[in-house]
């Protein structure tokens, strides 16, 4: 295994943070402590973490409505995330964005996004900035199988192909766009094959295997940094929960979900492989789980204790400056 031990521990911590964060968000939402609605990333952790493990704070990502995992993988502070979900003034976006709009540009997180496929052209823009300014940074756009059918996907990939942008497009194919299967809604054999149409590399990735994601994303990102243009990665993955919390999931069986939880859990499988190969120990990983549990607990306490935004804040942050008279 070529991944250094320190990196493996960091990867595990990020995946465990996402899983525990999402399980806790589910409870908090069920208890009516989180307003609005939430889309949980549990089950898909290997994709966000395997890709973002190669990125720096100066590399930008765009995300989706299912964005908590990408935020954590990119290093956004879970306290500010939980406070944002709670709608508090201390949230990552001061309570103005909520679950679907968490952003932290200092960490290179250009926003979750409530519009399917909406982040793809934005990521092209972040890649354009790097290209114009002569930096070796890259931009990664995460989107789902649903997003791959939007016009913004096709326009974004064409533009990236034309300008050879340092961009990586990561299709997270979890099998379902809301309640519609990707078998039904994605024409053609797979999303990765669409890369050929735009003159870029395309690859199918086992999104339920951290090591496969890490390796293929690493190559794509290194190529983009080296000026070799964009790549489309299709990560086949699975979400453990419904489209949103409250989704009764009449489109798939609970047996199927249980099968994935039992045999295709990215965290379990990562632990099994690293401990079987004697690279990491159960003790080290248990310690991480405990540390993560404490951080989630304190994030919830922080959120719950944080003040609500002032009603007068509603008119702040629309513009940098706006000189309307009357």
């Amino acid at each position: 295994m070529e991944i250094p031990k320190e990196k493996l521990l960091e990867i595990y911590e990020r995946m465990a943070t996402i899983r525990q964060f999402e399980e806790r968000v589910r409870e908090e939402f069920a208890a009516n402590r989180i307003p609005g609605f939430v889309h949980l990333y549990a089950g898909e952790e290997a994709v966000a973490v395997g890709v973002c493990a190669h990125l720096t704070d100066e590399d930008m990502i765009t995300s989706t409505h299912r964005g908590h995992g990408h935020c954590i993988a990119k290093g956004v502070d879970v306290k500010s995330m939980m406070a944002e979900l709670y709608g508090r003034a201390t949230g990552a976006c001061k309570g103005k964005g909520g679950s679907m709009h968490i952003a932290d540009l200092d960490r290179g997180m250009l926003g979750a996004n409530g519009i399917v496929g909406g982040g793809i052209p934005l990521a092209c823009g972040a890649a354009l900035s790097a290209q114009v300014l002569g930096k070796d940074n890259v931009a990664v756009s995460f989107f789902g199988d649903g997003g791959a059918n939007e016009g913004s996907f096709h326009e974004g990939l064409n533009l990236a192909g034309v300008w050879q942008l340092p961009a990586i497009f990561v299709a997270e194919n979890n099998g379902w766009a809301e309640s519609t299967s990707s078998d039904y809604s994605v024409a053609g054999a797979d999303i990765a094959g669409r890369a050929r149409a735009y003159g870029m590399r395309g690859e199918v990735v086992d999104g339920l295997d951290l090591f496969d994601v890490y390796e293929k994303a690493g190559k794509a990102i290194a190529a983009a940094r080296a000026g070799e243009g964009p790549t489309l990665l299709e990560c086949k993955t699975y979400r453990f929960y419904g489209h949103h919390e409250g989704d009764k999931q009449g489109y798939r069986s609970q047996e199927e979900v249980q099968e994935y939880r039992k045999n295709h859990c990215v965290i379990k499988n990562f632990r099994a492989r690293t401990t079987d190969e004697n690279v990491l120990t159960d003790g080290e990983l248990d310690e991480i789980e405990e540390r993560v549990a404490e951080s989630i607990e304190s994030a919830v306490a922080y959120a719950a204790d944080s003040p609500w935004p002032e009603p007068s804040d509603v008119t702040e942050d629309v513009y940098v400056n706006y000189k309307e008279v009357l």
């Binding site: 930008m60 765009t62 949230g91 990552a92 976006c93 001061k94 309570g95 103005k96 964005g97 709009h101 952003a103 932290d104 540009l105 250009l110 926003g111 996004n113 409530g114 519009i115 909406g118 793809i120 052209p121 934005l122 990521a123 092209c124 823009g125 972040a126 354009l128 900035s129 790097a130 290209q131 114009v132 300014l133 931009a139 016009g151 913004s152 326009e155 974004g156 064409n158 533009l159 034309v162 300008w163 702040e316 942050d317 629309v318 513009y319 940098v320 400056n321 706006y322 000189k323 309307e324 008279v325 009357l326």
Partner: protein, 340 residues
């Protein structure tokens, strides 16, 4: 002498782009055919268009293809990329060509660009200028003749400027590029060739400041873009009848300088608004509501709005001439409020 120098509005805009690109290396220009001839095998194809109206010609030779980029015909792609680039350190000026094309990139404009700053709690800025041609009068029919600025003015997070003189065009473009928010810069097709005094040096016309183009005591006429010419000409004609018309050019529709308009209405007691945009929920309606809210007790006559009918823009000159507000209609409206 600089005082006597005259430029067309198009040349004034080009001069602003040129000097801002020179001043700030993060300013880039992108859009369909903004240079022209990309990928052509002909030796002289470079810069063969300079934009559909020739405004961006000559920039590529000076600043290079890295900073002035022809895009595919892909408005959602490149407008979105301009917004993403603005959030990550550049100041793109993106050319949408005809404003009528806004439907294609609209999600990127109103759900992304306009809302990024707010949704992110003020932790991002989107310094983009989107240039687009507006207006009728060239028989370009329903999909190449609209104004549509009311759509953008409606959306929080967007700014909208509409110059009516070459002087304002240069100063507003300079201000728009230096502005840290997303600014729509709308260029009326029938004003692009109009000439006027433009200083050689750089200057800024601040966003959100209306200009009183003509002073008068009897009636206030607010007119936008090409409609300013009709209002000024109507005012000249009515002078002989002893009617003193004040003509206001808002120049900036969002933010809107309501103070200048309300002050004028309080002075004259009468208001006519001339707007080439379709009548429902347009700027004329918005300005009428503002005057009704803020200057009701000064009004001596009902507010009149002169607009096209609630229809698409027709093609045939016979129909289009009937569609676009005419000077006659402006004169009639002014006489009506004077008679009330």
């Amino acid at each position: 002498m600089s005082e006597e120098r005259e430029l067309t509005m198009g040349a004034a805009i080009r001069e602003a782009l040129h000097s801002e690109m020179e001043r700030d290396s993060t300013v880039i220009v992108m859009g369909e055919d903004v240079v022209g001839g990309a990928g052509s095998k002909l030796p002289d194809a470079e810069d063969c268009w300079g934009g559909p109206f020739g405004i961006t010609g000559g920039l590529a030779g000076k600043f290079g293809r890295n900073r002035i980029r022809d895009t595919p015909i892909s408005e959602a792609g490149f407008i979105g990329a301009a917004i993403g680039a603005a959030a990550t350190g550049l100041r793109p000026v993106a050319a949408l060509m005809f404003v009528d094309f806004f439907g294609i990139p609209m999600d990127q404009i109103f759900n992304q660009g306009a809302k990024i700053r707010y949704m992110f709690g003020g932790k991002a800025k989107v310094p983009v200028v989107i240039r687009a041609a507006i207006g009728g009068g060239i028989n370009a029919a329903a999909q190449h003749s609209q104004c549509l600025y009311s759509v953008f003015a409606h959306i929080p997070g967007l700014k909208v400027v509409v110059p009516s003189t070459p002087y304002d065009a240069k100063g507003l473009m300079t201000a728009a590029i230096r502005d840290d928010d997303l600014v729509f810069f709308l260029e009326h097709k029938r004003l692009m060739g109009s000439k006027g005094h433009v200083p050689e040096e750089s200057y800024v016309v601040p966003l959100g400041e209306a200009l009183v183009r003509r002073e008068g005591d009897d009636v206030t006429v607010v007119a936008i873009a090409k409609m300013i010419d009709l209002a000024l000409s109507a005012a000249e004609g009515l002078e002989a009848e002893g009617v003193n018309v004040e003509v206001i050019d808002p120049r900036s529709l969002s933010p809107l300088d309501g103070r200048t308009i309300v002050d004028s209405v309080e002075k004259t007691g009468r208001l006519v608004i001339v707007d080439e945009d379709t009548p429902r929920c347009n700027l004329a309606t918005d300005i009428a509501a503002l005057a009704a809210d803020e200057a009701f007790y000064s009004l001596e006559a009902p507010i009149k709005r002169v607009t096209p009918p609630h229809t698409p823009v027709p093609f045939s000159p016979a129909l289009e001439n009937a569609y676009i507000p005419s000077e006659d209609r402006v004169v009639t409206a002014i006489r009506e409020v004077m008679a009330a």
